[in-house]
């Protein structure tokens, strides 16, 4: 699965429009993921996962920042996320199946906040982009 020039343009434009709301989207993505896929909470036993949790907001901000960084370096996502890839392989070891769940929730957040942004073409490009990010983050697992 390869990101075409069109995909890259769609992703960059989408994140451009999302702009400063990315942090908020990150937090809501996590909130939705914990609600819809309770098994994902097992990676956060040390967090308060209650509504409005500052820890979830903080972590959502980190997740969003990584997505923005990937989008801004879309020609070399592996390079841009290399340290995060190491972290996930060596320390976090989040099972690869969970990246799809996070991706689904991120798309739902975009759809819910900005439906006109998520045309079918942009939906396709963002889905591919999120897959690519997941692939990079799990690339060094074994």
């Amino acid at each position: 699965m390869v990101l075409s020039a069109g995909d890259k343009a769609n992703v960059k434009a989408a994140f451009g429009k999302i702009g400063g709301q990315a942090e908020e989207y990150g937090a809501e993505t996590l909130e939705r993921m914990f609600a819809a896929y309770p098994q994902t909470k097992t990676y956060f036993p040390h967090f308060d996962l209650g509504k409005g949790s500052a820890q979830v907001k903080g972590h959502g901000k980190k997740v969003a920042a990584a997505l923005v960084e990937a989008a801004n370096n879309i020609d070399d996502i592996a390079g841009a996320l290399s340290k995060l890839s190491d972290l996930h392989a060596q320390k976090l070891r989040v099972d690869p199946v969970n990246f799809k769940l996070l991706g689904q929730c991120f798309l739902v957040v975009v759809a819910a906040h900005n439906p006109s942004l998520l045309t079918p073409e942009v939906h396709a490009s963002l889905d591919k982009f999120l897959c690519a990010v997941g692939t990079v983050l799990t690339a060094k697992y074994r």
């Binding site: 809501e28 909130e31 939705r32 609600a35 819809a36 896929y37 689904q104 929730c105 798309l107 739902v108 957040v109 759809a111 819910a112 906040h113 439906p115 998520l118 079918p120 073409e121 939906h123 396709a124 889905d127």
Partner: protein, 147 residues
């Protein structure tokens, strides 16, 4: 045995009452074919699927989307018996249509995104969680008779 809380049932039926099944079904199927192009393999006889615009405007896609989502509506009327409701359709998808059940999961996720875009802030995390549960159970029921 599936268990639905009263709140979950309300989140499902309440939202469904406001869904335009034809529009929503058409959009969900079109997005499936666009976002996951390999799913087009089941629709060789649908004519022009060469671009997102062609897919969205394709009358067979619209009609089939409506059919699929109408069937989904049956699930909602029978939340306590999804297995029974989809038993024959499960056999059909296995024996005649030869559809990999993974496609039901893909369509379910797309449907959730379409609902989110239509209902925006009303599609709360609790609402999404309930609908992810429903689409997962429908996919499971449709896969149940596979052999």
């Amino acid at each position: 045995m599936v268990h639905w809380t009263a709140e979950e049932k309300q989140l499902i039926t309440g939202l469904w009452a406001k869904v335009n099944v034809e529009e929503c079904g058409a959009e969900a199927l079109a997005r499936l074919l666009i976002v996951y192009p390999w799913t087009q393999r089941f629709f060789d006889n649908f004519g022009n699927l060469s671009s997102p615009t062609a897919i969205i405007g394709n009358p067979k896609v619209r009609a089939h989307g409506k059919k699929v989502l109408t069937s989904f509506g049956e699930a909602i009327k029978n939340l306590d018996n999804l297995k029974g409701t989809f038993s024959k359709l499960s056999e059909l998808h296995c024996d005649k249509l030869h559809v990999d059940p993974e496609n039901f999961r893909l369509l379910g996720d797309i449907l959730v995104i379409v609902l989110a875009s239509h209902f925006t802030k009303d599609f709360t995390p609790a609402c999404q969680a309930t609908w992810q549960k429903l689409v997962g159970l429908v996919a499971h029921a449709l896969a149940r008779k596979y052999h």
